[in-house]
């Protein structure tokens, strides 16, 4: 039996510090659903998803009960739809998004990811059609999430995709203008996208993956913050040690849940993504961990260093705890989903430029940031290019999930509700970058990609 204090520690982590399994995400390959007829392909997609994921929610809830640890979300990721739909004659892929939405509703999950295209080095016909379909797809479905990989350390950055996606984000914002442009919260533009990420909105099931796998995303910013609270005088080395130990325990809980659910669903266990993913609830904030280290507000000088240390220590603790660590595994900094970040933006401590700097040392990018609705598409493309450059040059994943909230400006707040939270509109640089964005073509692969 685990020791008395260990049992109490676990119970406290779950009850008071919001330790939870953020998501169990079932990855499903749709490669065998390809058909020259779009309608037939969609029939196969619906049948396959609803068959394989039939018991996902039920088993998830059962294990939640038995282990007494909440599993907040049950989700599905599928093969990028551009690869599946490309062989049909369809000129618009919105129907594919709708069938994913219908399958998600049938199996009772809250998000399905994979309305995606991978274009780091160029477009196929399917990629182009999919990207053009994104605004309508996100405006007419509830659960579908979309992503595009527009650059990689191996291929460089597809600047034609960067330009087009700036426009796509604006169109999506307009089509979902009645709900504070929420469609944009379901879209991520990646560089170095990972194929086994369980977190939305960027989850998709990579082509190198098995037929079906079960990936798990664990969270627990509250647990890390509480552990640091108890060590007020700790040096950096000691803080890193505390974070590592905490990350180890959280990861082990996630590994247990993942392997158990996978076994019961009779699919292989994929990876465990140990990411500190905040929610808008008090006590579940990554910003507050950084502040606990001694920063008056997240965003002040020292924040990037604090985040770098946190991210690194989380990875080290996680790696020791599970042989199947993958996905992002680090710290997330989505502004609207983090109560501490929201406050830091509102009091002026956290700026857009500081956020960008922070993304160079953590596991994601500019995430859930609301900007003025009249921001030009070219400026959004400039933001995408900057983030992609950070990812490509530093051999890491970066994503941009940005919301130009239609009809709102600096001083307003966008309300998304639920886990997506609320976001104060942040100012962006007003100087024009359209000539740069309009050049088109490819930013060549960086020198360190030539390793063969």
């Amino acid at each position: 039996m685990a020791m008395f204090k260990d049992v109490l520690e676990t119970v406290r982590m779950i009850e008071k510090e919001r330790l939870d399994i953020r998501t169990i995400t079932m990855g499903i390959s749709l490669l065998d659903c390809i058909d020259s007829s779009g309608a037939k392909s969609r029939e196969k997609i619906y049948e396959k998803i609803t068959r394989l994921a039939e018991n996902l929610v039920k088993e998830g809830e059962r294990i939640e009960n038995e282990l007494g640890i909440p599993i907040v979300n049950k989700r599905i990721s599928v093969t990028p739809i551009a690869l599946i739909a490309g062989s049909s004659d369809d000129l618009n892929y919105v129907e594919y998004a709708k069938i994913l939405d219908a399958a998600a509703a049938t199996v009772g999950i809250n998000f399905i990811g994979g309305f995606s295209a991978l274009v780091p080095k160029g477009f196929t016909k399917g990629d182009r059609i999919l990207i053009d379909s994104i605004p309508e797809a996100l405006a007419t479905t509830n659960c579908v999430c979309s992503s595009v990989n527009l650059g990689s350390s191996k291929a460089g950055i597809n600047m034609d995709a960067v330009k087009r996606l700036g426009e796509v984000i604006k169109e999506t914002a307009y089509l979902t203008r009645d709900a504070d442009s929420i469609g944009c919260a379901k879209f991520v533009a990646f560089a170095n996208a990972v194929e086994d990420n369980p977190f939305m909105a960027g989850a998709f099931h990579g082509v190198g993956e098995a037929e079906s796998v079960l990936n798990v995303g664990v969270s627990g910013p509250g647990v890390v913050k509480r552990a640091l609270e108890k060590a007020q005088d700790a040096s950096f080395g000691e803080m890193a040690e505390i974070i590592k130990k905490t990350a180890f325990k959280i990861t082990r809980a996630g590994h247990l849940v993942g392997t158990t659910v996978a076994e019961r669903l009779n699919v292989p266990f994929g990876i465990l993504d140990l990411s500190l993913a905040p929610t808008p609830e008090v006590g579940d904030s990554v910003a507050r961990i950084l502040e606990e280290m001694g920063l008056e507000h997240c965003g002040t000088h020292g924040t990037t260093a604090a985040l770098a240390m946190l991210n690194d220590a989380v990875k080290k603790g996680g790696i020791m705890a599970s042989t199947s660590v993958g996905g992002f595994s680090g710290a997330f900094i989505p502004v609207s989903e983090d109560e501490g970040m929201i406050e830091a933006v509102e009091c002026g401590a956290l700026t857009f430029d500081k956020l960008e700097a922070m993304t160079s040392v953590c596991s994601v990018g500019i995430d859930m940031v609301a900007i003025p609705g009249d921001t030009p598409a070219s400026t959004i493309s400039g933001i995408l290019a900057d983030e992609a450059a950070i990812g490509v040059i530093n051999n890491k994943t970066t994503g941009v999930r940005i919301i130009p909230v239609y009809g709102k400006d600096v001083g307003d707040t966008a309300e998304f509700g639920g886990l997506l939270g609320r976001a104060p509109i942040m100012p962006v640089n007003k100087n024009d970058c359209s000539v740069f964005v309009n050049r088109g073509g490819q930013i060549p692969a960086p020198i360190h990609s030539f390793k063969n």
Partner: protein
């Protein structure tokens, strides 16, 4: 299969009686108990063997939670696996 029962709340009479009664009624064997009382705050942890359990896990869980509400304590039951995973290498 073994599970850990955690009982936390303000100390009063009959806590162990109420919890162990439900366990006995459902053929669950108590293998180990430890408890402390600090400043009127009662904490008890039981390790139980559910091999011969005569009821569904979720039904048992609800029954324990109900008793917990009646006597004003928080009662949880969780598979032993979670604690072993988190606290042993």
């Amino acid at each position: 299969m073994r599970a850990v029962v955690t009982v936390i709340g303000k100390d009063r009479t009959g806590i162990i009686y109420n919890v162990s009664k439900i366990l006995a009624e459902n053929s669950i064997n108590i293998e180990d108990i430890s408890q402390t009382v600090m400043h009127d705050f009662f904490t008890m942890i039981m390790l139980v063997d559910m091999t011969n359990m005569s009821v569904d896990f979720n039904v048992l869980k609800s029954a324990l939670e109900e008793v917990g509400e009646t006597i004003g304590m928080s009662i949880r039951i969780q598979h032993e696996d979670l604690f072993n995973a988190m606290h042993t290498i």
